[in-house]
């Protein structure tokens, strides 16, 4: 589904990703862990097409298409979803209106019929149940005045409505207390399926207690330096990121 090969990316003239390779198949959950500054968020932003991230080398193929050649909205329509680390507040734009515009824009780009307001409302009701979100949030402006937990749940709710093929969760656990974390994880787990893949980017192992990954990768200094199953996350928790650096001599100078 997703094949990243030797990806190099630069932000404001600084090399951040330095040869990252990763293959994700449908149904798989991959966790990307790593210390601050390793390039975790850059990976999410490059994949979703944010301005200011310059790819200098390498390729990203998503379902046979060159993902890097697509505009952000085209990537979304192709099935890529980024749950933001810091969801943006957009005063004046109603949450429901926004979500319907997004879903219909994607459907239109895919050549599918747009949903009318009745059909959309029915879909939203179904998804609200899964996410245990109060419909009061739907009547407010996008993320405006939402608590940290509400913002993250709103991201997962959007994901539930948009039904992407590949969901990238960028430090979705940051700033959440344990109850909010569980709710978010529940939402994600409800959306796991044989044809949907997840890339879970996180600093801490904590989230992975609730979203069980098939693979864990350690990102350090812009590259994946260690891959394994979920036990790798526990080792990291135990030994810290310094442990990875020691095991990989080429990383001796990297930040830990």
């Amino acid at each position: 589904m997703l094949k990243i090969e030797n990806l190099h990316a630069r932000v404001e003239g600084k090399d951040i990703l330095k040869g990252l390779s990763l293959t994700v198949n449908p149904g798989e959950v991959h966790a990307i862990m790593g210390p601050n500054g390793a390039g975790k968020s850059t990976l999410g932003n490059v994949l979703s097409g944010r301005d200011g991230y310059e790819v200098t080398e390498g390729s990203v193929i998503f379902e046979g298409r060159d993902l890097l050649a697509l505009e952000p909205e085209e990537r979304a329509a192709a099935g890529v979803f980024l749950a933001f680390q810091y969801p943006v507040e957009i005063p004046g734009v109603n949450n429901t209106y926004f979500l319907r515009a997004a879903l219909n824009a994607q459907r239109k780009q895919r050549g599918e019929a747009e949903l009318d307001s009745m059909q959309f409302l029915k879909l939203v009701r179904e998804k609200l149940k899964i996410m245990q979100i109060s419909d009061e949030l739907l009547h407010r402006a996008v993320n405006e005045g939402f608590s940290g937990g509400e913002k993250k749940r709103n991201e997962i709710f959007q994901m539930a409505v948009l039904e992407p093929k590949l969901a990238i969760l960028d430090e979705t656990d940051s700033g959440l207390d344990i109850d909010a974390l569980k709710q978010v994880a529940q939402g994600v787990n409800a959306l796991r399926s044989a044809d949907r893949a997840f890339l879970v980017i996180t600093h801490y192992q904590r989230l992975l207690d609730y979203i069980e990954p098939d693979f864990v990768h350690v990102l350090a200094d812009g590259r994946i330096v260690e891959s394994g199953d979920k036990t790798l996350a526990h080792k990291l928790e135990e030994h810290g990121y310094a442990w990875v650096a020691e095991r990989d001599e080429s990383l001796a100078g990297a930040r830990t």
Partner: protein
């Protein structure tokens, strides 16, 4: 030739020959003549004059306009152009400055409402307009008011009797219609609300066919004590046209005005809006936005004068400019000596959608009274890059995302329009105007 050289614009007016309603009324002839002479003597101002600093009239000065449209009575106007959602009451329609009975609705007016074209009042009861029309404009910047005074032969005369509450909104439509030449038309509105009267007015400027006419409108509105007015202006004039509007508002004690302005059309638009809060506790709420594209130039000049105690004004203005458009906003508030306990708030925020667009804003506040609460602020910015990416990352294409964010930016201007259908129409018109 010993005469000073006139610009083609002024020359074309010197030879204007169309007959004017009210000709032969001595005081009106004299007023028109004096204003005309004053206009000719001064010519068009240049940008050295403060009031015209950001709006150059050089290009206008090089153009010629034929005054008056001999075929105004028969020009075709699509009825759909005049249909405004939520507005189906009395209506006066003017085409190229001339009253069109066939397009208007003035039968069975509600009790207390008097609504007539100015041309008709001049023929029947000119004396009742003497105070409004026998006026000399003396300020150097009043160029177009003089021109209007010299040439306006039609317009709206609207009076609401004391205590009358008119439920249906009154529609006033000024339509520029395509003609063989570039025309100039000049209209004059006189609106008066008696003590305790209530009225809502929807003023429409629209174009029927491509044209580059010049229209001027001078609209004076007087509210006696305790009167209330809702006034919405939808300016969607033809793309190539020029429109100069000068509105004045006089508010008596406890009178209240809520004004909404949406400026979308026109190549060159100047809107002067002068409000005077003359009676104690008068309240004025003005909200407006211009949304510009192409090479449009729109200049809004808001001047509010608090003259009495415990008066309040709230001004919320937004500007959006895309492509190579240019917007100008000046908001000048004066709290005069003796207007103690008054509140004045002015907020002007602007959005530049292109690097070649320009907006100049100048809020001014002068306070000569005591215990005044006043605040003003102006900003110019761009669309938030993070918000744009957020919307696009969800699949919303760039143009649509820009529209959503721009509409959100302008939202505070319209959310207080009480007529829901009209409010929706205004925001749709705004969205449709975005490139």
């Amino acid at each position: 030739m010993s005469q000073p050289a006139h610009t083609p614009f002024v020359e074309s007016l010197l030879t204007a020959a169309a007959p004017l309603a009210g000709q032969g009324i001595a005081w009106l002839d004299a007023s028109r003549r004096e204003n005309f002479d004053a206009f000719i003597a001064a010519g068009l101002p240049d940008t050295r004059m403060e009031a015209w600093k950001y709006t150059a009239l050089r290009a206008l000065g090089q153009r010629r306009f034929t005054f008056g449209d001999t075929q105004a009575a028969t020009r075709q106007v699509d009825p759909a152009l005049l249909a405004l959602p939520g507005v189906d009451g009395p209506r006066l329609v003017f085409v190229n400055g001339m009253f069109r009975a066939d397009l208007s609705r003035i039968e069975d007016l509600p009790e207390g409402l008097s609504l007539q074209p100015l041309s008709q009042v001049l023929a029947q009861d000119a004396e009742s307009l003497r105070f409004a029309l026998a006026r000399r404009y003396r300020e150097a910047g009043d160029v177009f008011a003089r021109l209007n005074a010299a040439f306006a032969g039609d317009g709206v005369v609207l009076r609401v009797a004391a205590g009358a509450k008119i439920a249906q909104p009154v529609q006033l439509s000024f339509i520029g219609a395509a003609a063989d030449t570039d025309l100039s038309w000049h209209a004059r509105n006189v609106i008066e609300l008696g003590e305790g009267a209530e009225l809502s007015v929807v003023e429409q400027h629209a174009g029927s066919g491509e044209q580059q006419h010049l229209g001027t409108l001078v609209a004076d509105t007087v509210l006696h004590d305790d009167a209330r007015l809702q006034h919405s202006i939808l300016q969607n004039a033809a793309e190539g046209s020029s429109l100069i509007r000068r509105g004045s508002l006089h508010l008596g004690a406890r009178a209240q005005v809520m004004l909404h302005v949406l400026e979308l059309g026109g190549a060159l638009v100047r809107h002067d809006l002068h409000a005077e809060l003359i009676g104690d506790e008068a309240r004025l709420d003005t909200r407006g936005v211009f949304v510009l594209r192409g090479r449009q130039h729109v200049d809004t000049q808001l001047a509010i004068r608090h003259q009495a105690r415990n008066t309040a004004s709230e001004s919320t203005w937004r500007g959006v400019a895309d492509q190579r458009a240019r917007g100008v906003f000046r908001g000048a508030i004066v709290v005069a000596e003796g207007a103690d306990g008054s509140d004045a708030n002015l907020s002007n925020k602007n959005l530049l959608l292109s690097t070649q667009a320009e907006i100049d804003t100048k809020p001014e506040l002068e306070i000569y009274a005591d215990e005044v609460k006043a605040a003003h602020g102006a900003t110019i910015g761009q669309l938030d890059e993070r918000s744009m990416f957020y919307l696009r990352s969800r699949g919303i294409p760039q143009a649509e995302a820009r529209g959503m964010l721009t509409a959100a930016f302008c939202r505070s201007v319209f959310e207080s329009v009480p007529n829901e259908a009209l409010r929706e129409h205004l925001s749709q018109a705004l969205l449709a105007h975005l490139p």
